[in-house]
Symmetry: C2
Subunit: 604 residues, 2 copies
């Protein structure tokens, strides 16, 4: 099978050589997930993704979803792959078998999702959001809610969504207007309008379960008065059969730049006064529930963006080997020199190596984020658990914000490598660029991610997660330092880590000073440099493994390991100097963006 | 009229305060173009652009062009605006009145085109390409060719194109396969297939005139054997009336990411052996003719990309003033604090000021490139003319390659400022991003622009154009140095110019060394840093004018001038440090991209 979507060798490298997930099988919890089993899982996921799902990607883009009189239909080809996806039991890979999950390590599930999302993430959002909604039920639901909804959601018999955004409440969730009034039987009458609801209405399943953020009559304003409700499209009888329509009406779907295969819906709840929901969790604790799910949800968006980049890279490198155009630079003056594959041109190589290093570094970072969660679930030491949780939370804005920003850049280079063909819909590159663009916006814009990093994560627990992360980086420095070929890179990386420490200190101090607005004007650049250092870390980690194994390796592995060392070299030598420049810009603490008067922006 | 497309105050600033184009009216050639006349021209262009053309932008995107049995129809709304555009005589603004042109300074025409392209550049490409094709006829045509074609093209009665690309000959023009066989009457029988032909077929006019690159039977291989021909869709009788169909058949149009309003055609010439062309210029000198037109054509593409960015910025700043979302950062903890316009949020301000500074700097650079051409036409000193031509050619790859790269970045920020609405087709931002993307590819990919800068322009005439440009920058440094408020920026800019000189020297030396491939792997980064310094130069120039005029200015002007100083401050303090980082990366001369083996890129 050709390498498309995600490079299998690279996926295996992260799973087995970098994170060594086979070691998990020594634990009771993950005993059955030996390396062999993990390989089989990835084989199956890759097969389904490449052979069945990938062919629907362009179809989804071209056909999109149709809206007619409240009904939404997805491209008909989606029905078949949804069935296959359900049959393969891929929806709840890392959930508890008690509720129909497969009990896999999250790291392994991420690797499978790497293929699935890369194949057609607009489609994967239907089961993907179902997973998130079901998780809310699992964590916050009553026994009754779990009994009725959970298995049907984890099995994909019903899908799920998340009803958060309203026209005047996007980033500012606390401004939402949807209301809940308690009925005598303890249920709530829900009334409101929600927009931008991914998978909000469709014809894949007979019921759709909506977790809804709403304000109970009389609750405090802002986020402190928001509660979470479970609102099915069709009510469910105690025996699990479908009851009457629950007055959740789709009033339209958005026409948008990308992810045409996923229906982005406007929903009116209780327009006829007939929408009933049950409280999920406690009154006024809706935002807290949201926050608990946020690390996973945001990492998923990071994965979506990343998968576009990974696919764009493989398409680009495969195309660059086949496309013959122009002479080799050293033969320019020879009229008889043949045209060569464009992978031989220096500027194409620059683009490809930039893409490669970013894709590899981001893959490692995404898997690592999930791996920390696995370690957390395997630990019974509260201190260790707190430490791992801190690192997960610290990395979440990087994994969402930084990765989707960089993924979009990679997708754009992917268009560029294809030249004019990159702009044409006959080739996949332009769709990947369009699909990727929303990942920088939804699930908290990347500006919000940057604020999260600076405002919440940097100073969390007196900076302990930052220290813990730096300690991990130092372990990599020590390991890489033992390999002579990496000496030079280690020195550069060390300097970057040291400077990041200074920048972090500066940002923290500024954020607590009267110049707090300046600090937040540099929140996004701060996220950029932190992300760059994190990617450099992952690449150096990878290179240190490659360097250690190089000597005894077979021919194919040698080439792969060479690629690892080159990725680290490129990123450390050609990207980190730019990162240092960005750090210098941050350290100026320049206030132009804050001090400029509103009128001086021009326009009007 | 609201400020959309291009900020009128900013356009006027560049024309009258930075470049002082009113001074041109002191010359014989441009005597009638007083400031008052220039203002009237811009008024008219802006009116037509905003009121008539802009409303067709989204229509063009949604309807696109239709292909049916060799015929292409454009959105019907395009017919009306094409008529208005012709009636206004906007097609040949800066051409010789002898052939129907308006004889305007190019700088003024650029300002008018700023509005036209920003209103709907997919449409403007129909007259825009006509202008370029007609110019080829004017410069290289015989008296007969000029008599028959020129006025009809400059008036827009017929449109023009450029038939260059073939399936196996994109960047590598020399690989083209289209052939020309001389007929007894001196005309040529043309046979071949061309692709990616913008405006190649449509129903706006009754005839379309195609300049075609082809190889005369027996001509040398490669670019040395390419000739230019004039091939009309319908033959033209000596009296100017239309003759028979000339066997130029449109075989299809591309479905593409953006510029849907412009038909990108595949054309088959002489499929029935019945396509006749006349030689334009000399045999085997086709590429030379192309090169002579290149500065203008590439600057136009820079303008197209730039206009998307300019429009995206104005949309963003206007939206940010209106969109209420979230509390002010300093009132975050106050539960009763009101939501504010998002322009008050630091991260939005950062994005807006980044966009603003880039848009202003790029506008100045684009106009300046045209202004040099005006100066050239006004000079009768061969040395001065050579100097100006050198600077124009040096700046061309920056004006095309750097500007379109940065324009795409600005368009992407424009999406981000809109949040979820940025991704939705109800708002203009996502279309601007899609439309902008092709400008980095066509008329020579930006990789080719970077090679042009490094391989041709840097060392041209022993580096004299570079020296001339640096001398101009030093004039700005001197002028800005007289304004105390700019002291700090001047110092930073000076340091960047000095370092750019070192980097240029390094690149030049490396390109002539055995490490030539390394040099070309850094060609694109070199274009980036050169462009950054050029933009910083323009912004400092602007700020020095603003600083000088600030004291005596009225209230509105004061605000505008404040904005100029802030743009310079932002770019010099927050972007130039990154530029310096990019220069450091270049100076490492790291060879990872060259040395990595082809197999180590993975994939397959």
């Amino acid at each position: 099978m050709a390498q498309v979507i995600a490079d299998r060798r690279d996926v295996d490298f992260v799973l087995h050589e970098q994170l060594e997930v086979g070691e998990f099988s020594k634990t009771e919890k993950f005993a059955e997930f030996t390396r062999k089993t993990v390989d089989l899982i990835i084989n199956e996921a890759r097969n389904l993704a490449v052979k069945e799902i990938l062919p629907t990607q362009k179809i989804g883009d071209e056909k999109g979803c149709a809206f007619d009189g409240g009904k939404v239909t997805v491209p008909e080809e989606f029905h078949r792959i949804y069935k296959l996806f359900r049959e393969g039991e891929w929806l709840a890979m890392n959930e508890d078998p008690q509720w129909g999950g497969q009990g896999m390590p999250r790291t392994v599930a991420l690797a499978a999702n790497d293929f699935f999302n890369g194949a057609n993430y607009a489609f994967i959002m239907y089961p993907g959001l179902t997973h998130g909604a079901a998780k809310l039920v699992e964590v916050f639901g009553s026994d009754e809610q779990k009994r009725i909804f959970l298995k049907k959601m984890y099995s994909g018999e019903w899908t799920g969504t998340m009803l958060l955004t309203e026209p005047e409440a996007g980033t500012d969730v606390g401004a939402l207007q949807t209301t809940a009034v308690k009925n005598e039987d303890g249920t709530y009458a829900i009334t409101g309008n929600k927009i931008f609801i991914s998978s909000g209405e469709h014809d894949l399943t007979e019921n759709i379960i909506h977790p809804v953020l709403a304000r109970i009559e009389g609750a405090p304003e802002g986020t402190r008065g928001i509660s979470l409700f479970l609102v099915p499209k069709y009510r469910v009888n105690p025996d699990g059969s479908l009851g009457e329509f629950n007055d959740v009406v789709c009033t339209g779907i958005e026409h948008k730049m990308g992810i045409h295969g996923n229906a982005t819906c406007s929903l009116t709840l209780g327009g006829k006064g007939n929408c009933i929901g049950t409280l999920l969790g406690e009154e006024n604790k809706g935002m807290k529930a949201m926050f608990l799910m946020m690390n996973e949800a945001r990492a998923l968006v990071g994965m979506q963006g990343f998968c576009c980049a990974s696919a764009a890279y493989l398409n680009a490198v495969n195309y660059a080997r086949e496309r013959i155009q122009g002479k080799h630079l050293l033969q320019m003056m020879d009229a008889n020199a043949p045209a060569v594959p464009i992978i031989q041109h220096p500027d194409i190589r620059r683009m490809l190596l930039k893409m490669k290093s970013l894709v590899e570094g981001m893959r490692s970072l995404l898997y690592y984020h999930g791996y920390l969660d696995d370690l957390k679930h395997l630990s019974d030491d509260p201190e260790e658990i707190a430490k791992l949780q801190g690192m997960i939370e610290l990395l979440t804005p990087i994994v969402k914000g930084y990765i989707t920003d960089r993924a979009f850049e990679v997708c754009s280079e992917g268009v560029q490598v294809f030249g004019g063909y990159g702009f044409i819909s006959d080739y996949p590159q332009e769709q990947l660029l369009r699909d990727c663009r929303i990942t920088q916006i939804y699930e908290g814009t990347n500006g919000i991610q940057a604020m999260d990093l600076l405002g919440r994560k940097l100073g969390m627990n007196q900076g302990k997660p930052v220290m813990d992360l730096l300690a991990e980086m130092n372990r990599t420095i020590a390991a890489a330092g033992e390999i002579p070929a990496l000496e030079d890179f280690v020195a550069d990386f060390k300097a970057a880590v040291k400077k990041l420490g200074e920048v972090g200190m500066h940002m923290g101090m500024t954020a607590m000073s009267p110049k707090v607005l300046n600090a937040f004007a540099f929140a996004h650049p701060f996220m950029e440099v932190t992300g760059d250092v994190a990617v450099a870390w992952m690449l150096l980690w990878r290179a240190s493994i490659a360097g250690r194994k190089m000597d005894g390796a077979g021919k194919k592995d040698k080439v792969f390991y060479e690629g690892q060392i080159r990725s680290a070299e490129y990123f450390i030598k050609s990207v980190l100097p730019i990162t240092l420049g960005k750090m210098n810009a941050i350290l100026t603490n320049n206030g132009a963006a804050i001090e400029i008067s509103e009128d001086a922006f021009g326009g009007r």
